[in-house]
C-alpha cells in the first residue's frame, strides 16, 4: 500500500501518518580492527509529507542509519532495535518481503549520481527494472515492458528531464551531473513511494546545480506529499529544505528540533559549536570594509598575463584549454582567493604556479621566473620559496614516512641540516601549527584529518616560503575542523606574511580568508575584486548566479534569498 494519495501538503498537522519510525536502532560492524559501533542509539520518526534532515559530522552514522531504513546493510553488520515502515519492521523482515518494500514504500537517492546509475544500461531500463520488479507484488500481474517504459517516461517527466520520451533511451553518461541526479530521483519516484531517503544528494554537485536539485525535492514534497529523509552535512541545505532536523554525533542523536528552532536556538553545545563553525557568506569577511586592494605596493610574487594552459589532446584530438587568457597579480602578504565551479581551472592555475603543470601561452611570472618553457634545473632553487598545501591531507603524505620525516623533507633537500637541527626545526614547526612536537614520530594515518592538514601546513611552511598555494585545503574536512584550520591559517598568514593563492569552491570560505577574490568560469577569470564587493555586489552574470545558489545556514534568511533569486536561478 502507498501513502501518497492521502498525503496532505500541510505543515504542522499532528494527525499526519507516521511513515517511518526508528526505535532504538543499533548497528555494529565487524571489521579487521574489531567491532565498530556505527549507530549506537537512534530513535526518530518521519511523518507523511515531512522533510527530516539528519546532520552531523563525518562518521557520525548518518549513512548507516539511512541504509538501515532500506535494509541495505552489508552482511558484516548486525542491527537491533526497530525500523518500522508503514508498520513493517525492516530489520526482521524476510528478504522477499524486504524486496517488496524497497522501491514501493521507501526509495533511496544516492550521493554520487554518476555511480548510482549503471553505465551500461539505458536510464529507462534501469527505472523500468524497479517498476517491473514489483509487478507481481502489486497483485496486478506482470507489467509489460511497454507499460514500464511509459511509467519511466512519466517519472522522468516529473523530475524535469526535457523530452523524456526520447531521453528514456539514453545512457547515463549522456546526461550532465545534475540531470543524472534527477534521473536517480526519477527512479526513486517511479513507484510513488511514500518515503525517499536521500543521502547527501547534492554534495557531489556544483552549487548552482545543487540549487536546482533542492528545488526539485521541495517540489516533490509539495506536489506529491512524499516524505524525505535528507542526509547532509551542509547546514545551508538544511536551512533551505528541512522541516525538522536531527543532529547525530558518534552514533547517537544529540538533538532534534524543527529547523527554525534549531538554527535560532540550538540547545546542545555540540549543535551550537557546529552551527558556529559553518561559514556564512558575508559574515567574518577578511575584506570587511576595504575599498581598495591591500598590499598593492608590495613585491609582486605572481604575475599572470593572458595566461593560457592547455592539456594536450591525445593522438590527434585537439588540446583542451583549461585556462584561457587569465591575468592577475599576487603580491607579498596578500591572500588571493580563487573560486569557481568544478572544472573551471582553479587547480590548474595553482599547479602551474608550483611548476607542476606547464603553461602553454601568455606569461606567468613566479617570483620573477618566467614559467613558460620552465626548466626544472633552473627553477629548483626557487622551490624553497614556494609552499603547497594539498586538498586531501591524507593523500599528500607518504604513508611510509613519519610526519617528522615528511616535514623535514624540504629542509633535507634544500639546506641539508644535521638530524638534530632537523628534529628541532620540525618540533618548532609542529608547535606553530598547534600540534605537539611528539607527533613527529607518528605516521600519517595515526593523525586525524584536521591534524594531518595542520602537519601539511607545517611542511609547506618549513622553509619560510614567500609564496603559498593552498588548493582547497579544507574541503576534505568537517566544518568544525575546517573552522579551526581556517583560523589557524589566518593567524599563520598574518604572522609569516607570505603571499597566498587560496583556492576553494566555497565562496564563504574564500571570503573568510582572502581580501582579493577572483572568479573563474570555464577557464576564464570573469571577475576579480575586493572580496566583500564581489560577494556583495557581483558584476558578472555567472558570479551573480553562483552567489544566489549558495544556501545560507539560516532558514529564514535562506527562504528570503530563495524568493529574491528565483528569477535569476530560473526556477
Amino acid at each position: 500500500m502507498t501513502v501518497n494519495s492521502e498525503a496532505v501538503p500541510g505543515q504542522q498537522d499532528p494527525e499526519r501518518k507516521t511513515v517511518l519510525d526508528i526505535d532504538h536502532l543499533k548497528v555494529t560492524f565487524a571489521t579487521d580492527g574489531g567491532d565498530v559501533y556505527a549507530v549506537k542509539d537512534v530513535s526518530l520518526d518521519v511523518k507523511a509529507g515531512e522533510v527530516l534532515a539528519i546532520v552531523g559530522e563525518s562518521g557520525s552514522g548518518k549513512t548507516v542509519t539511512a541504509k538501515t531504513i532500506l535494509g541495505l546493510l552489508p552482511e558484516t553488520a548486525v542491527s537491533s532495535g526497530a525500523v518500522l515502515i508503514n508498520g513493517a519492521n525492516v530489520i526482521s523482515l524476510s528478504p522477499h518481503r524486504l524486496r517488496q518494500i524497497r522501491g514501493r514504500d521507501v526509495a533511496m537517492v544516492f550521493q554520487e549520481p554518476s555511480t548510482a546509475l549503471n553505465p551500461v544500461f539505458t536510464v529507462g531500463w534501469q527505472i523500468a527494472e524497479g517498476i517491473r520488479a514489483h509487478a507481481n507484488a502489486n497483485g496486478g500481474g506482470r507489467v509489460s515492458a511497454k507499460e514500464a517504459k511509459a511509467r519511466a517516461i512519466e517519472a522522468l517527466g516529473k523530475v524535469g528531464i526535457p523530452d523524456p520520451e526520447h531521453r528514456v533511451n539514453y545512457y547515463p553518461h549522456q546526461f550532465s551531473g545534475g540531470q543524472k541526479q534527477r534521473v536517480v530521483i526519477a527512479a526513486a519516484l517511479a513507484l510513488n513511494p511514500g518515503l525517499i531517503v536521500a543521502d547527501e544528494p547534492t554534495t557531489a554537485l556544483d552549487v548552482t546545480v545543487q540549487a536546482e536539485i533542492l528545488e526539485l525535492l521541495r517540489d516533490l514534497r509539495d506536489k506529491y506529499g512524499t516524505s524525505i529523509v535528507l542526509i547532509t552535512h551542509n547546514m545551508g541545505v538544511v536551512a533551505d529544505l528541512a522541516d525538522r532536523v536531527v543532529v547525530m554525533y558518534q552514533g547517537y542523536i544529540v538533538e532534534e528540533a524543527p529547523a527554525n528552532t534549531l538554527f535560532a536556538e540550538p540547545k546542545q553545545n555540540y549543535t551550537r559549536n557546529l552551527l558556529a563553525a559553518v561559514p556564512h557568506l558575508g559574515r567574518n569577511s577578511a575584506s570587511e570594509g576595504l575599498t581598495e586592494r591591500r598590499y598593492q605596493d608590495e613585491e609582486v610574487l605572481v604575475a599572470a598575463d593572458n595566461l593560457v594552459i592547455e592539456y594536450p589532446g591525445r593522438l590527434g584530438t585537439p588540446a583542451f584549454k583549461a585556462v584561457d587568457g587569465v591575468s592577475f597579480t599576487l603580491s607579498r602578504g596578500e591572500v588571493f582567493g580563487l573560486v569557481g565551479e568544478s572544472g573551471s581551472g582553479k587547480t590548474t592555475i595553482g599547479r602551474a604556479i608550483a611548476g607542476l603543470n606547464r603553461t602553454t601561452g601568455g606569461s606567468l611570472k613566479v617570483l620573477g621566473y618566467e614559467m613558460l618553457n620552465l626548466r626544472e634545473r633552473t627553477f629548483k632553487p626557487l622551490r624553497k620559496d614556494i609552499g603547497f598545501v594539498f586538498q586531501d591531507p591524507a593523500a599528500s603524505f607518504n604513508p611510509q614516512l613519519t610526519i617528522g620525516e615528511c616535514i623535514a623533507e624540504p629542509m633535507v633537500i634544500h639546506t641539508n641540516p644535521s638530524p638534530a637541527q632537523a628534529r628541532k626545526r620540525v618540533g618548532e614547526l609542529l608547535e606553530s601549527v598547534q600540534l605537539p612536537a611528539s607527533y613527529a614520530g607518528r605516521y600519517p594515518h595515526e593523525l586525524s584529518g584536521g591534524q594531518r592538514q595542520r602537519a601539511s601546513l607545517a611542511r609547506a611552511l618549513s622553509l619560510n616560503p614567500r609564496l603559498l598555494i593552498a588548493d582547497e585545503p579544507t574541503s576534505a574536512l568537517d566544518v568544525s575542523v575546517q573552522a579551526k584550520v581556517l583560523e589557524l591559517f589566518r593567524d599563520i598568514q598574518e604572522e609569516f606574511g607570505f603571499g597566498c593563492l587560496f583556492i576553494s569552491h566555497d565562496l564563504a570560505v574564500v571570503d573568510i580568508l582572502s581580501s582579493w577574490v577572483g572568479v573563474l568560469y570555464k577557464g576564464k577569470l570573469v571577475e576579480q575584486g575586493i572580496g566583500s564587493q564581489v560577494m556583495g555586489n557581483p558584476q558578472h552574470d555567472y558570479t551573480r548566479r553562483l552567489i544566489a545558489s549558495l544556501p545560507v545556514p539560516d532558514p529564514a534568511e535562506q527562504a528570503k534569498r530563495r524568493e529574491e533569486h528565483r528569477a535569476l536561478l530560473g526556477i
Binding site: 579487521d32 559501533y37 623533507e409
Partner: protein, 339 residues
C-alpha cells in the same frame, strides 16, 4: 563529506616488524574461509619448503642414484619395500626424485623471481616515472612479449640459453632465465602502473614541489609504495614458474635427470609407463606439481583478496547485542560539552 578512499595502508608501519611481514600481517587480517584458504596454502607451501630444505635428510637416495650397497635398483618396481613410491624405467627411486625435485623447483623459483623482480621493478619504475619515448617503447615491447604465449617464449629462451650445458647450475639457470624473460613484462606492467598511479598522488607531487630530485622521488617515495603488491605477484609467479619449469621439462627443454630431479621431466618420461600400467612414475611427480602450485596459488590468492578491501571478508559481529556502548544520552552530553 566522505573522505576519498585511498588505498588503505596494508600494514601499520609501527606495528612490530614481525606482524608487519607480508604473510603474517595477512594472516592476522584473515577470517573464516579466507583464513582457511590461506592456512591450507601456507601448509602446502610450508611442507614444500621444508621438504626442499631438508631434502638431503628426507630423501632415501640421491636423485641420480641407481644402486646402493645391495646392488642396482630394480627398474619399474611397484611401490613398496625399499622403494616406497617405486622406481622408474631407468631405476631411479621415485620418492627420492620427488623429494629432490622440490629443491630444483625452489631454486628455479627463487632465481627466476628474484631476477625478474629486479629487472621488472627497475624498468617499471623508470619507465613509469620518466615516461616519454622510453616508456612507449618499453610498453610496446613488454606488451608484445606479454601477449605472446609465455610458454613459447620460455621454450625459445630455453633453447638460446641451454646452448650452455645442463649442469645443475646451467640447467636451473636456463629454466630460470627463460621464466624470467616471461615474467619481466608482468612485473614491469604492475610496477609501471603503480608508478604512474603514484606519480599523480599528492604526496609525490608534494615531494616534487619541494624540489626533490627524480632519483630521490623514485627511491624514497615511489619505490616502497609501488612494491607493496610484490608479495602477491611473487607467490602467483612462483606457482607459474613451477608450471613453466614443468612444461619445459615435459616438452624436453628442461633439466636432465642426472643434473637434478625435475618433475616435469619425470612426468614426460613416465608417459609410456602410465599406459603400461606403471602408474607410480607419473602420478607422484604430477601430484607434486599440483601440490606446490596449489599451495602457492592459495597463498597468493588469499593475499590478493586480503589486499583488496572489496574482496576481503570480515567476520560477522559475533555478539548480537551484548553490552555494547549502550551508554546513556547523558554520557554523550558530557563528552560533547567537554569539547
Amino acid at each position: 563529506m566522505s573522505a576519498n578512499t585511498t588505498l588503505e595502508p596494508v600494514t601499520n608501519p609501527r606495528a612490530p616488524l614481525f606482524r608487519r611481514l607480508p604473510v603474517i600481517s595477512h594472516f592476522n587480517k584473515s577470517v573464516g574461509l579466507q583464513r582457511f584458504m590461506l592456512v591450507v596454502g601456507l601448509a602446502l607451501t610450508g611442507i614444500f619448503l621444508i621438504t626442499a630444505l631438508a631434502a638431503p635428510l628426507l630423501a632415501p637416495y640421491g636423485f641420480a642414484q641407481l644402486s646402493d650397497a645391495d646392488g642396482s635398483f630394480p627398474t619399474q618396481q611397484a611401490p613398496g619395500g625399499k622403494h616406497l613410491l617405486g622406481t622408474t624405467v631407468g631405476g631411479y627411486d621415485v620418492l627420492s626424485r620427488v623429494i629432490w625435485g622440490t629443491q630444483t623447483a625452489l631454486l628455479v623459483i627463487i632465481v627466476a623471481v628474484v631476477l625478474s623482480i629486479f629487472a621488472g621493478v627497475i624498468l617499471g619504475l623508470v619507465s613509469g616515472y620518466i615516461g616519454g619515448w622510453l616508456d612507449r617503447i618499453l610498453v610496446v615491447v613488454a606488451d608484445a612479449i606479454y601477449a605472446f604465449p609465455s610458454l613459447l617464449v620460455a621454450i625459445v629462451m630455453a633453447i638460446v640459453i641451454s646452448g650452455g650445458q645442463s649442469s645443475l647450475f646451467g640447467g636451473i639457470m636456463a629454466a630460470a632465465i627463460s621464466i624470467t624473460v616471461v615474467f619481466i613484462p608482468q612485473y614491469f606492467r604492475v610496477i609501471r602502473a603503480e608508478t604512474i598511479r603514484l606519480k599523480a598522488e599528492p604526496f609525490v607531487e608534494s615531494a616534487k614541489v619541494v624540489g626533490a630530485s627524480n632519483i630521490r622521488i623514485m627511491t624514497r617515495h615511489i619505490y616502497r609504495n609501488a612494491t607493496r603488491t610484490l608479495p602477491l605477484i611473487f607467490t602467483l609467479n612462483a606457482s607459474e614458474a613451477i608450471q613453466t619449469l614443468a612444461a619445459l621439462g615435459f616438452l624436453g627443454f628442461g633439466i636432465e635427470p642426472s643434473s637434478a630431479a625435475e618433475w616435469g621431466f619425470d612426468l614426460n618420461k613416465a608417459l609410456a609407463d602410465t599406459t603400461s600400467g606403471i602408474w607410480w612414475t607419473g602420478l607422484f611427480p604430477g601430484l607434486a606439481i599440483v601440490w606446490t602450485v596449489l599451495g602457492l596459488t592459495l597463498v597468493g590468492e588469499s593475499i590478493n583478496d586480503l589486499n583488496d578491501p572489496r574482496l576481503r571478508g570480515r567476520k560477522r559481529s559475533g555478539r548480537k547485542d551484548d553490552g555494547g556502548p549502550s551508554a546513556a544520552q547523558a554520557a554523550i552530553e558530557l563528552e560533547v560539552r567537554a569539547q
